[in-house]
């Protein structure tokens, strides 16, 4: 963990009048920085958001996905499907503030079921240009043996202050396989709360990749439960902050049975006076013998005003397990920079090449549909 220059101004404290409407919607006060999970996360950018729920997310009467055509193997579930809410319950986060806020905002709901090979799908998340709060809620059920490649690309329609709230629930049946990509490219004053909860049955495989950049405030909370163990979870994260942006990833993976596997790499690039937070929770209770978990946090600190907080949080009770974790924070390597410069490549271009290489490792794990969004240009500016 790194010490950072002090003195960043705080525009509004949680509980101030500008935030009261968000507390009211959620039915609970905003998290305070005295809470461990929110210690490094300054919510003051939310104060700029005009009160009100933007059109496009106000319930079944305005279904934003009415025109959505689904690939073979993917069908809609009824809104009353009993699995709705089950992953939230399994991961103990029904009372988390982003979850309560999403519920209070009466999100547009899309519930999908996948049987057999669902192919690949990009789900549009239409935002309103006017600002305010936009909320979506997804339920995705992969029946045993089903497969799907899914891209979510939450993006603001403008640079106006707005809050996008995305709650995705995933239920993976036995031997199901989901490649899930979340490409979250923000701009201006837009903020994002992205909450993902996944129940994995034995033999299932989850590859979840989240790339986030450009938000005044972005909070990603992937929470995975391997309910019988014996499943595979591969998490990849990349967050880039610049200016006064803040990106925060709080991941949590729990093994409720033996022989589970986790392979997690989280990367961050912090420039300007940006702040990056990563907290990687892994729970290996007694029942989770022979768990094989590896977590790596790699961080690139490009400015002396930027700040990176990274923390593995492993709770291991089982005694026959392999759990590795590590974190690195570095600047661009001077020998790499010099090598590039000694070949006529100016230092700005060289720095961009090295940053791109750093990011590419995660970007290449996004579903192929992400290429259309040209994520590398969005992250680093055009080269």
């Amino acid at each position: 963990m790194l010490a950072a220059p002090a003195g960043t101004a705080v525009a509004a404290a949680p509980g101030s009048a500008a935030l009261a409407w968000l507390a009211e919607l959620a039915g609970t006060p905003l998290p305070s920085r005295r809470q461990e999970d929110w210690r490094f996360t300054d919510l003051s950018p939310l104060a700029a958001i005009p009160a009100g729920i933007a059109t496009g997310s106000s319930g079944p009467s305005a279904d934003p996905w009415a025109e959505l055509s689904l690939p073979a193997g993917v069908s809609r579930l009824a809104a009353g499907d009993p699995r709705l809410g089950s992953a939230l319950a399994a991961s103990d986060c029904e009372q988390h503030w982003p979850v309560l806020l999403n519920a209070g905002a009466r999100p547009a709901l899309l519930a999908l079921q996948v049987e057999g090979d669902g192919g690949s799908l990009e789900l549009p998340l239409p935002a309103a240009a006017a600002g305010g709060l936009v909320a979506w809620r997804l339920l995705l059920v992969l029946e045993p043996g089903a497969r799907l490649e899914l891209l979510l690309a939450p993006a603001p329609a403008s640079a106006e202050p707005q809050l996008l709230s995305l709650l995705s629930e995933v239920v993976l049946g036995e031997d199901a396989r989901l490649q899930l990509g979340c490409l979250a490219l923000g701009k201006g004053h837009a903020c994002l709360l992205d909450h993902l909860v996944v129940r994995q049955a034995a033999g299932s495989e989850l590859l979840a990749t989240t790339v986030t950049s450009g938000w005044a405030l972005a909070r990603h909370e992937p929470r995975i439960v391997q309910e019988q163990g014996a499943a595979r979870t591969r998490l990849r994260g990349l967050q880039r902050v610049d200016g006064r942006q803040l990106a925060d990833t709080h991941s949590a993976v729990r093994f409720d049975g033996p022989d589970g596997r986790l392979d997690q790499v989280h990367k961050a690039v912090a420039d300007g006076a940006g702040r990056s937070v990563f907290n990687g929770g892994v729970q290996v209770p007694r029942a989770a013998q022979r768990t094989d978990a590896a977590q790596m946090s790699r961080n690139l600190l490009l400015s002396d005003r930027a700040r990176i907080d990274t923390k593995p949080e492993l709770e291991i009770v089982a005694d026959d397990v392999k759990c590795a974790h590590g974190a690195t924070v570095s600047q661009l390597q001077s020998e790499e920079l010099f090598y590039l410069r000694s070949r006529g490549i100016d230092s700005a271009t060289a720095a961009r090449l090295l940053q791109r290489a750093f990011c590419q490792e995660v970007l290449q794990e996004l579903p192929a549909a992400a290429r259309r969004h040209d994520p590398i240009a969005a992250l680093l500016g055009t080269t």
Partner: protein
């Protein structure tokens, strides 16, 4: 090829440099003319590699005295990238691995930086592929290495071939090859030496930094210099390298131990 009337490409005068306040170069003098191949030899720690890094502009080294004229201009005021674009090339002793940066793209960006400086048009991906495949033949390198990350997972020999490939693409005016022979088996050494020989012409110059005669069996130097304690202690023709091979460097210690007056003498000609 020695031509007394050939233009001077590099003129190093009384060069002093240090790293982290530790003086390494203590008055290097060396003049290199077009068409010449020079070899700088010497033990580890004599300052050979420092000389190459200082000439390429490595930011860890600070020049504390002296001057370097390069092709008529002041080399020391140029950024490393400007030195490269104007034709100074350093072949690294330990080429750097850059995971995630494609070798092909790296070579193209570097080549275009040099071409831009010379007023040549930039090569697009297709035109560059043609050029790079032609130059690959010179170093007998497998095209598969173009698709990989820069030097990542390359063997020692592959890294050095990649260096010579870069030299072939950048067409330098002055090439400094820092222990290009280290870590090479005899076949790779032959390939690398043949590449360097083919790239030498009457308008450019090469400075080889090496420990061993075996490179000089394949690339015949016009001048050989012996470095010790941050200076060039002795200069001669190719015979000097052969003599070093026979008699080693013990005489260096004797000369360094000799009274101050003798150290300042003109370098001895041998043979």
């Amino acid at each position: 090829m020695i031509r007394p009337d050939a233009p001077v490409l590099l003129e190093i005068r009384d060069l002093h440099a240090c790293v982290e306040d530790q003086p390494i170069l203590k008055g290097v003098n060396l003049t290199i003319r077009a068409g010449e191949i020079h070899a700088v030899m010497g033990r580890n720690g004599s300052g050979k590699s420092t000389l190459s890094k200082v000439l390429a502009g490595h930011p860890a080294y600070t020049v504390t005295g002296g001057s370097v004229l390069y092709n008529g201009g002041n080399l020391l005021e140029l950024e490393p990238e400007q030195r490269s674009r104007t034709g100074l090339f350093l072949g690294f002793q330990y080429p750097v691995e850059i995971p995630g940066v494609s070798n092909l793209e790296f070579l193209r960006v570097a080549t275009n930086a040099r071409r831009g400086q010379r007023g040549d048009e930039e090569l697009d991906t297709f035109a560059f592929e043609d050029l790079v495949r032609e130059r690959l033949a010179l170093v007998q390198m497998d095209p598969a290495f173009l698709e990989r990350s820069v030097n990542e997972g390359f063997s020692g020999g592959e890294k050095k071939r990649n260096e010579i490939l870069q030299m072939a693409l950048l067409e330098p005016l002055v090439a400094i090859l820092d222990e290009t022979d280290s870590g090479l088996d005899i076949d790779a050494l032959r390939v690398v030496a043949a590449g360097v020989n083919q790239l030498s012409d009457p308008d450019n110059a090469t400075l080889l930094i090496t420990h061993y005669q075996r490179l000089l069996d394949l690339i015949t130097p016009d001048h050989v210099h012996v470095m010790a304690a941050g200076r060039i202690l002795r200069s001669g023709g190719k015979e000097l390298a052969l003599e070093l091979e026979r008699s080693g460097y013990d005489w260096v210690d004797e000369q360094l131990a000799a009274p101050q007056g003798q150290q300042g003498r003109q370098p001895l000609e041998v043979g």
